[in-house]
């Protein structure tokens, strides 16, 4: 049974339908990319999976639970975390507090071990842990956001455009970290990316969304080498 199973969902805001009959799966431990042009509904799919938007039809199952109509805080409890594209850190809180909020659901008195693990992954955050997240650069914010999402040891991490607005150096660094996190029994990753080539290259599988519908699916390398996908969605 897949870890995440999206079955023919239709979703949108108000009367508009942005997603139509979209299905996909994520197996435990794999990296899956969703690519597609602007406005294809990639972010909407993420939000529906995470309960920020409830689909009108279809169902979503995660780790054996039906989460179609659950609220985000209940979904987090099941072991899914989400890194939004924008506004993904609490700008008024320090780096350390941001990490603590990532583990809000744990009532443990001490989060030191968990924080230490995140600091190992992103040493830069340790140096700056008393700094307000709002004063940090885009790349550092992305690290804070990823770190906060990893605090709970999730089974699945959703990442919305992790490379958006970052410098090329920072982009490759963030993708290295994503791969590193995923290795050795790490969480599965579902990534929505503009930078489709980079993201497919490290994915085990990928889906192409266009105009709110499933268009192609396949393995990461398979999609990368597919001439039609290349021409339409990978810029030649």
């Amino acid at each position: 049974m897949p870890l995440l199973e999206v079955n023919g969902i239709t979703a949108g805001y108000g009367d508009s339908e942005i997603l139509r009959d979209v299905s996909m799966t994520v197996e435990a431990g794999e990296i899956v990319s969703i690519i597609g042009p602007n406005g294809a509904g990639k972010s909407t799919l993420m939000k529906s999976v995470f309960g920020l938007l409830h689909p009108k039809t279809g169902s979503i199952r995660f780790d054996g639970h039906d989460i179609t109509h659950r609220e985000p805080y209940q979904i987090v409890e099941l072991g899914m975390c989400y890194v939004p594209q924008v506004a993904n850190v609490f700008t008024e809180l320090t780096v350390e507090e941001n990490l603590e909020m990532g583990a809000f659901l744990l009532r443990e008195a001490s989060l030191e071990d968990r924080k230490a693990r995140i600091y190992d992954l992103f040493p830069r955050l340790k140096e700056r842990r008393r700094q307000r997240a709002g004063k940090m650069s885009g790349g550092e914010r992305q690290m804070v956001a990823m770190g906060a999402a990893l605090m709970l040891d999730p089974k699945l991490v959703l990442m919305d455009e992790p490379s958006a607005g970052l410098s090329p150096v920072m982009v490759s660094m963030i993708f290295e970290r994503i791969a590193e996190i995923n290795r050795n029994d790490g969480p599965a990753m579902l990534i929505v990316e503009q930078n489709a080539k980079l993201s497919l290259a490290m994915s085990s599988r990928g889906y192409v969304l266009a105009a709110g519908e499933n268009r192609f699916e396949g393995t990461g390398p398979g999609l990368l080498n597919d001439p039609e996908v290349g021409r339409l969605y990978l810029g030649g």
Binding site: I18, G39, E92, L93, G134
Partner: protein
């Protein structure tokens, strides 16, 4: 059926644009505001001197102002928390203070401890009544939230609708006060003397007012510790800062909102009792405070408890100092002018929190 691309784009990522424009706006410096406030105090002091007030009188008015600031702070800290987390101006806050004052008044009639403690004018009974009034007002504000604000929140109502709902709540609460206690004035201790103590520099002050200040300091300190050190406090700041992300992080924002009301309601009750002790208990008492409360909150920077405390102090002192040269009835007018000044010079106030 085809979907318009622009609609999807708006659906997917409007926060990016909003954020940029808001952050751009905070580049404003605080200095003009500091200078304006200091200039106003100097000016008030000079006006007082021109009106033949001695330095001792002005000093005493300043001290009185700090005490009034303590009362205002108990209200404005709660107001600012509600604003920070729920994002609307709660016009019912003054009337929550009034209810606190009246509930304590009613409780005092059945509680022992009428005799005065030391040089205070109040006895244990009042303190006990105040402590018991806090959960009553907290429960009441939770009730109003459940019946009125929560359904509006759920359907994503605009800030103006929430503000209007709070106006309805304000008149609702006041009608309850009038129905239960009538329009009369009451005193916690009818006709009890409250002699002033002599301090250096010719300052005279009643022990009660010192108590008010200490209580306000203690409560603001407590709120600060709560916000900075506890899990729920940090979650409150997180929710104020970015409610969507708070949900994403697994924070039950409804729970956070409930705690916000509990704290705001309890502080309002304490503030109401203290105001009742310093003047008298009457149905319009909270409404009279509403304008100074908003002025202090805006001056301090909406959403910032420490800012609300300092803002309340500044408003309190300005309120009292101005009475040296204009009719004290116009105190709210002075508070209002200061508020307008802040809105012109630096709308985000001295400190900022929330609003990401």
């Amino acid at each position: 059926m085809t979907t318009d691309n622009s609609t999807i784009a708006t659906g997917d990522e409007p926060p990016a644009q909003e954020r940029v424009s808001r952050e751009g706006a905070t580049g404003n410096s605080r200095w003009p505001l500091y200078i304006a406030i200091i200039a106003i105090f100097v000016l008030f002091w000079v006006f007082g001197a021109i009106n033949g007030k001695s330095t001792t009188t002005m000093l005493n008015l300043t001290v009185e102002g700090i005490m009034l600031g303590g009362i205002l702070a108990l209200g404005s800290v709660g107001l600012t928390l509600v604003y920070g987390v729920l994002k609307f101006s709660n016009f019912a806050h003054g009337d929550m203070m009034t209810i606190g004052a009246f509930v304590a008044f009613a409780l005092m009639q059945v509680l022992p401890g009428y005799e005065a403690i030391g040089s205070f004018s109040f006895g244990w009974g009042l303190l006990l009544a105040m402590i018991l009034a806090a959960p009553v007002v907290a429960a009441l504000s939770l009730g109003v939230d459940f019946a009125l604000f929560r359904p509006l929140r759920r359907r994503g109502a605009s800030v103006v609708l929430l503000t209007m709902a709070s106006l309805a709540a304000m008149f609702f609460l006041r009608s309850i006060i009038y129905l239960i206690w009538g329009a009369d004035y009451h005193f916690y201790y009818q006709g009890r003397a409250n002699p002033a103590m002599q301090l250096p520099f010719g300052i005279t002050i009643q022990a009660d007012k010192l108590f008010i200040l200490v209580l306000a300091l203690l409560m603001v300190g407590l709120v600060w510790v709560l916000l900075e050190r506890t899990r729920m406090g940090k979650a409150m700041r997180a929710t104020a800062n970015n409610p969507d992300l708070a949900q994403v992080r697994g924070i039950n924002t409804e729970r956070v909102i409930q705690w916000t009301w509990i704290i705001a309601g309890s502080l309002a009750a304490l503030g109401g009792v203290m105001y009742g002790l310093a003047s008298q208990v009457r149905p319009e008492m909270g409404f009279v405070l509403l304008l100074p409360l908003f002025a202090g909150t805006i001056l301090g920077g909406i959403g910032s408890p420490v800012g609300a405390f300092i803002g309340a102090m500044i408003i309190g002192v300005a309120f009292q100092l101005s009475s040296a040269f204009i009719d004290p009835t116009y105190g709210p007018g002075v508070a209002f002018m200061l508020m307008i000044l802040v809105l012109i010079v630096r709308p985000m106030g001295l400190f900022t929190m929330g609003g990401d």
